[in-house]
Symmetry: none
Subunit: 253 residues, 2 copies
């Protein structure tokens, strides 16, 4: 049965057969919203394909196309004989290429929150100056950001921006950084050189990320180059790893 206690009759969204957006795409949107709703996580299972397709007013095949993409994306899991369930959120980030953290989380349906933004101008420490190919002591813009979701901090970024970008300390740093730089400075981020290590949280990081001192953190040192291979940013990023995983797709080289 479709309307048993587990799957109460919802406002059965009927899809628009006249929209220029294909039905499978509309169905995908509906499913994405369903995924966010807690009742489906709680219930464990989504309504079965036959009744769901009926309630959406589309055929089972069309619905399956939408579900299939969400499965491929890792947001749903299907099992023959059982049903379709919302994947337990194991948040991941990254591919062989990198993106804005905010946009990447957005794509996963997670609303990124900013917990603190501090902007200051300071003399570049030696390591930073080396990475940015500057004389030690050159003044750079330093950006501290803590981000997370569901009220919990998850990652701390400390970015040093190359003076070439000519960004002022009162710019709007709440939007994705690389888009800001692209628009304001016409400098486009292109590649990054990264180093990954594990470190213990010191007192400062422990406070910022709301963990105990000594908690293992993933540390990511990153130098971002623009399309002209000039360094534009050096960042030290610390991730808590309890709700987050950095994922990579690499190729044999």
């Amino acid at each position: 049965m479709s309307n048993n206690s587990k799957h109460p009759a919802r406002a059965t969204v009927r899809l628009d057969h006249k929209s220029h957006l294909p039905l499978h795409a509309q169905a995908e949107q509906v499913l994405r919203e369903m995924i966010l709703r807690p009742e489906h996580r709680a219930a464990g299972l989504l309504p079965d394909e036959v009744s769901l397709s009926r309630s959406l007013g589309i055929s089972r095949n069309t619905l399956r196309a939408a579900i299939g993409r969400l499965v491929a994306e890792g947001r749903l899991e299907r099992k023959a004989g059982i049903g379709t369930r919302v994947t337990e959120p194991k948040v991941q980030s990254g591919v062989g290429a990198w993106h804005s953290f905010t946009r990447e989380m957005d794509a996963k349906g997670i609303k990124v929150e900013s917990y603190s933004i501090k902007v200051q101008v300071l003399a570049a420490p030696d390591g930073v100056a080396r990475e940015l190919q500057l004389k030690p002591g050159t003044e750079v813009l330093c950006l501290d950001r803590v981000r997370g979701w569901d009220g919990q901090p998850e990652v701390h970024f400390r970015s040093y921006l190359h003076p070439r970008l000519k960004l002022s300390a009162d710019a709007d740093f709440s939007q994705p950084l690389y888009e800001l730089v692209k628009e304001q400075c016409s400098i486009v981020a292109d590649q990054s050189q990264e180093e990954l290590t594990a470190v213990a949280a010191d007192r400062r990081l422990a406070r910022l990320l709301d963990v105990k001192t000594g908690t293992p953190l993933l540390r990511r040192d990153r130098t971002v180059l623009d399309t002209g291979r000039r360094p534009m940013e050096f960042a030290v990023v610390h991730y808590r790893c309890d709700r987050f995983r950095l994922t990579l797709n690499l190729r044999q080289g």
Copy 2:
């Protein structure tokens, strides 16, 4: 027309309707081979869906399921009114590529030493079975290795090898693993999917890597796929990070 000069009559592979492997999966394999063949890159286009499905002896829908996955994977590109084309391989240098640990260290002039090698056959734990796409409990070869240099351990690998490789426990695992597999099994490692996190050393790891319990370690969960995108190895790697950094060169994506 299907058999014009652009798309000469190939040995029309008819798929096996009695195989346990679904037709769409078989079609996917055929397409993967096609993608590698230069004549299709040269021709610019693959045969059109209708004639290709006929020559494979399957319906257009079934073929489209296979093509759809390869499109999602970025290996094929479809355009309405035009056809389906093999994606031009993007030429990139040193992009998010991985190598043998041993060879990578070699390149840095560091002589890698093996401190312990344990080989055992055991039932695949659930997570491992999932990554290798095996039924839980299938017997797999499990390889434990500790490597380092200057008399200090630096990294611990625990590899689970897919039974398809048919490697016996008494093979010579002192040489680089992927070369061994390549020679012994003619299976070539091609890509990897990785997850990076930071963890605290438990007692076992602390002993193996000669660090204090609780020391932050870089944990790298890696599924290695062969050229046919079949999983061949799942490995959990732990690095001490005091003498070692995992470096990556990524591109904006």
